[in-house]
Subunit: 320 residues, 2 copies
């Protein structure tokens, strides 16, 4: 808390956009001890946000993932009726509104008019670079991407992506704030499409889809390859540490041995194809054999409980 | 055990090649209740195999991962002095010798002379298709790839890859045997380079290396992206189930929304570059900041303990 207080100087944090991602962020900040103001321009979403967070707190409590009573965390959350109320005197805004450049630009214009000279604004966008919606304003140097994995109160990674206009001090503040509230900060140093996380996911998914299309393996068998194989290591080591430990001489030794094979695999996919409507239909039908469309929602609950169990285990083991 | 007995008709299993992979397989089969004969043409490796397995059994016992006393498992293992002794009357051979086509071909010629008419031979190779070393023999229809992740007694996935000559009955037997000893079977239906597991790993690693080369992120930040983000889901769901749950309408909905972005990411890497000596040096030096060369071995111990803790947790939670 001392570190957090020093960072925010006791000021609150504002959540703008209170859907699933925004509500998740509100919980991250409140759990860490910060005062959190929530605003959503849609009153339906706005009024649903506290009950949603209350449910999430109950789940976390059940898995032993909170260090204080849920009510104390809830007491630090307030829903505001206007954007001005939410950001007034705040140290930091986490923006999680609609993923559309024009909608985000409009919010930045509003914030430009409202914000004090020190307010820092993080955006949850998973794909739009800050330079596309926050350039040429007096706040531009204080806008940065802070892209979470959903839900952020369970999965700690956050990608910090400055635009060319973002000041180094803002990068430093946002990274320090995220670390202080318990997230794991990844610095993305250039505005590339998909940042790092979705680029890694993208190439793996492209190969997975191509393997199904070529009749090499089924969706379910590819899922097994990851969840009963590759994913075990990747859940506590990254890909570089994995290969560093997988050759006697470490990563350079590994690169010499397997680099050529891996290049030939990558080369074999150099002509990218569309995911055709037929292929989408094929993958959809394979998935529906394992999970009916009507069961998607309940399976999402299963996933969140599994993440909670995983999170509880990781905290206990802390293998690093 | 009933199922296993029906499969093997009470016959033993032979391990040929008793290094790290072979010893791991010996433990998988003995743990499941089978009688296991071990052979390695190198007497040094041969005599080191039982003490190695004894150590692994002690580790598994410490993590509560064995359902019977370690001595009972050890009692089912015998080291043989000749290949003929090892395979005589065996139901199945798991081959884990040197990863060289000529060496594997020589072993197949020996086995062709020794094997009874029902012996089935699985190879642990991670990259050489069975057609490259087992074609044109009387045993050809009974040779198949059964590629594990190391160590197989901890990470359950096994890729089953028939050659064009492998008979469907042999595919069926090997898959049933692997399931019966507790492995998770992935059917690879065509002999493609890298099978499924290493193809998925290859494309993710290529992108990771390119991101470092382009100055987008450091090795450590890319590792964080996976171990504190993507890897959490992938440790209990595969990539298809992950995206199926990540869009309101399921996987087809997801494909429509994110397919174009993912294609553009893949397209941006269509000109594959070498991993140059300079890039290898750069990655090596980044890794050595986090792990000194002399600490590689002790860190492998850390990894194996983390895998055991993970395995114990997965068995307890069994989220499926």
């Amino acid at each position: 808390m001392l570190e957090l207080d020093a960072l925010t100087q006791g000021k609150p944090v504002a959540i703008v956009g209170a859907g699933l991602v925004g509500a998740g962020w509100a919980l991250v900040f409140a759990r860490a001890g910060l005062t959190v103001r929530i605003y959503d321009s849609n009153p339906v979403i706005s009024s649903a946000s506290l009950p949603l967070i209350e449910q999430q707190i109950a789940d976390l409590t059940a898995y032993g993932l909170l260090s204080e009573p849920g009510e104390s965390i809830l007491a630090r959350l307030t829903v505001c009726q206007t954007l001005a109320q939410a950001v007034d005197g705040a140290a930091y805004v986490q923006e999680s509104i609609l993923e559309r450049t024009d909608v985000k630009r409009a919010l930045m214009l509003e914030l430009d008019a409202l914000a004090g000279p020190d307010l820092i604004i993080g955006s949850s966008t998973s794909g739009i670079p800050a330079s596309a919606f926050a350039s040429g304003l007096s706040i531009s140097a204080r806008v940065i991407i802070a892209h979470p994995v959903n839900p952020p109160y369970l999965v700690p990674v956050v990608e910090i992506v400055p635009s060319p206009e973002t000041s180094p001090a803002v990068v430093e503040f946002t990274a320090a704030l995220m670390e202080a509230v318990g997230q794991s900060v990844v610095h993305v140093r250039k505005e590339v499409a998909g940042f790092v996380l979705n680029r890694l996911q993208a190439v793996l998914l492209r190969e997975a889809w191509a393997l199904v299309e070529d009749g090499v393996a089924s969706c379910e068998d590819i899922d097994k390859t990851v969840r009963d194989g590759l994913g075990w290591r990747w859940s506590f080591m990254g890909p570089f540490e994995t290969i560093d430990l997988n050759a006697v001489g470490g990563v350079a030794d590994y690169a010499q041995r397997l680099g050529p094979l891996y290049r030939s695999i990558a080369d074999s996919r150099s002509h990218e194809r569309e995911w055709s409507p037929e292929l989408i239909k094929q993958i959809e039908s394979q998935r529906r054999e394992f999970l009916k469309h009507d069961d998607l929602e309940s399976r999402r609950g299963w996933r969140d409980r599994a993440l909670m169990a995983f999170s509880a285990q990781r905290r206990k083991a802390d293998p690093r």
